[in-house]
């Protein structure tokens, strides 16, 4: 076994050109795999973050005729104990209203939260570009589009017409931009009590919203939440059921990314295999004499398995380095006007290790064909043919 290893090492060292070519082949394969894999993963994480990162991933909504949840404190408690994966729970009092300004009346959506809870889900504070969050009753923040349309500034008062015809004036303490124009144009965000007053629902809420640690587990968490909840007349929804198209898009992306990676690997595997097979033919004389001198078939084939192993390890290391180089240059050169990368790359250590392992295993698998040739080589053929 050690002899096979030392012969393999010498073979690799003496055929430097060939060795470098194979190692380069493997490392380009690993680098492409790493690059494409990380890029697609980054793209997906980014997409998921922008789509549902700043939105509730599970919601509890009432199904009774009043469309309100009376015992929301119990729902809140039960949500908290149903799963460790649930985070950022917020109750909301939502309802339609109108805003009366200069010449017009436009529909708006009143959204009342305990603001520090709502902020965790929607990131209101981050979205504020002027002013601050409401701290008292009858204060609100409004979006950029709505402010532009109504000509509102900080500390201005807006006139809200409730669904029952009553009017109320709210002081605007801040202006936000949540990067979604339909939200910016319609949401009037205020604290829970103010919203409950405007909507005339007393101490009740119209929904409980929450996020989860693992967004792709939302459906499972939602199921166990529905099981835990003791309230009647409610429904538990999760983002996955509501965004089937996005999910199938993500799936398609994953599958095509895996396909690319598999074909790259197959190409690398065929390359190594053919080069090593040629090297068996090149060295058939030496292998023949080694066999005449009594080397066992197993050791004769191990020579090539060891070559595959060493080439695989070298190729994997170089390939990972090359892959990181590609990723770094991609995030450095492919940037948005504001300097952030077009696709933020997420380095997944497990994926990097997996790529490396695949390369090594492929190289060893590729060496099985030449190993078999070497094992089957009959010394008499070599010696007869000179």
């Amino acid at each position: 076994m050690r002899l096979a290893f030392s012969i393999a090492l010498r073979f690799l060292k003496s055929g430097k050109g060939q060795t470098i070519l194979i190692v380069l082949g493997i490392s380009v394969g690993v680098a492409v795999q790493l690059f494409i894999g990380s890029l697609i993963q980054g793209l997906q994480i980014n997409l998921v973050n922008t789509t549902i990162g700043n939105a509730p991933q599970i919601t509890i909504t009432p199904t009774n005729s009043e469309k309100t949840i009376k015992e929301w404190e119990r729902a809140l408690y039960e949500a908290q104990i149903s799963s460790n994966d649930i985070i950022n729970i917020a109750v909301a009092a939502d309802g339609p209203a109108s805003i009366d300004y200069e010449s017009d009346i436009d529909p708006v959506l009143i959204r009342g939260f305990k603001l520090e809870d709502g902020n965790k889900i929607y990131g209101f504070e981050e979205g504020l570009y002027a002013g601050q969050l409401p701290s008292r009753k009858d204060e609100a923040i409004i979006g950029k589009e709505l402010a532009d349309k109504t000509g509102t500034n900080i500390n201005d008062r807006i006139l809200i017409v409730s669904p029952f015809g009553g009017t109320i004036r709210l002081t605007v303490t801040g202006l936000y931009d949540l990067k979604v124009s339909s939200i910016n144009e319609t949401w009037v965000i205020t604290n829970l009590e103010t919203a409950q007053d405007i909507l005339g629902i007393g101490n009740q809420v119209t929904g409980v919203e929450m996020q989860v640690n693992e967004v792709f587990e939302a459906d499972i968490v939602a199921k166990s939440l529905a099981y835990t909840l003791s309230l009647s007349d409610i429904r538990v929804d999760n983002w996955k059921d509501q965004n089937q198209q996005l999910l199938s898009g993500l799936n398609g992306q994953s599958v095509s990314s895996i396909m690319i990676q598999v074909f790259v690997l197959v190409a690398v595997l065929l390359g190594i295999s053919s080069v090593l097979a040629i090297s068996v033919v090149q060295r058939s004389k030496q292998l023949g004499i080694l066999k005449a001198m009594g080397i066992k078939d197993r050791d004769a084939s191990l020579i090539f398995v060891f070559q595959g192993l060493m080439l695989g390890i070298l190729g994997a290391i170089l390939g990972i380095a090359l892959g990181f180089g590609l990723l770094i240059s991609f995030t450095t050169f492919a940037v948005n006007p504001d300097g952030t990368p077009v696709v933020p790359i997420y380095i997944n250590n497990g994926f990097v290790a997996l790529s490396g392992m695949f390369a090594i295993i492929s190289a060893m698998t590729a060496s099985l064909i030449p190993a078999r040739l070497s094992s089957k080589l009959n010394p008499i053929e070599v010696i007869k043919n000179g």
Binding site: K291, M293, G294, I295
Partner: protein
């Protein structure tokens, strides 16, 4: 002396559809420590005979005995061990591993059996290098030596495991006459010093005449068997 090699009713037929018989009922014995040559025209079957003795080839029928043990029925693994321990091969082409130095090539048969080379074997390798006149080039890679040096390295390699039998197929076929003389002198010295049995195929009449026994093979049969 006892017979170290015994061939009994050896027939060899090549081919499946078109059968070509190259050896016909060969019965031959070689004494331990003897220095034998086999001569014959090309295609006479002498190389096939040598390969059958060396267990590299199997007879179609008949029995082969090495040191009294039958070999034609052994499996590949046991044959590899037998060759490693009891036989040394020298071919017309040296077949050295070009990736290794002269000394490493010489030690190769030992390493096949046991990777760690003890001191006495290492010294034996040095002795062989000296015997073959290779001390100066012991660290040269196989390709950095002359044809004669390469062939002498192959001879030293055949001797490292102190085999009882050396089988040589035209060992000097590629060498000029001076080098040929030199190589034969070495082979003869080894034969006398270590009582190694030699079976040498040669074209060279002068060389054959210097051996203890000349066997001429013609059309797959032993045509002449001259002992001194």
């Amino acid at each position: 002396m006892a017979d170290i090699i015994r061939l009994k009713n050896i027939n060899k037929i090549y081919g499946e559809k078109i059968k070509t018989q190259v050896l016909f009922d060969i019965n031959l014995n070689f004494e331990e420590g003897s220095f034998n040559s086999i001569i014959g025209e090309s295609g006479s079957g002498k190389s096939t005979m040598l390969n059958i003795i060396g267990t590299l080839d199997k007879p179609t029928s008949g029995e082969v005995y090495i040191s009294g043990d039958r070999t034609d029925t052994l499996n590949k693994q046991s044959l590899a061990e037998l060759r490693n321990q009891t036989m040394g091969f020298i071919f017309q082409f040296h077949y050295l591993l070009p990736e290794f130095t002269a000394k490493e090539n010489i030690l190769m048969p030992y390493k096949i059996h046991n990777y760690n080379v003890p001191k006495d074997v290492d010294e034996w390798a040095d002795e062989l290098l000296q015997l073959a006149g290779l001390t100066k080039v012991s660290k040269n890679l196989a390709n950095d030596m002359s044809g004669g040096q390469q062939q002498r390295t192959a001879i030293a390699r055949a001797l490292i495991n102190r085999p009882k039998i050396i089988l040589a197929d035209e060992p000097t076929g590629n060498l000029d006459s001076d080098t040929t003389e030199n190589v034969y002198k070495i082979l003869r010295d080894i034969n006398e010093m270590y009582k190694t049995t030699f079976v040498i195929i040669t074209h060279d009449q002068r060389i054959a005449e210097k051996t203890d026994r000349i066997i001429e093979v013609k059309d797959g049969r032993v045509h002449l068997d001259l002992k001194r």
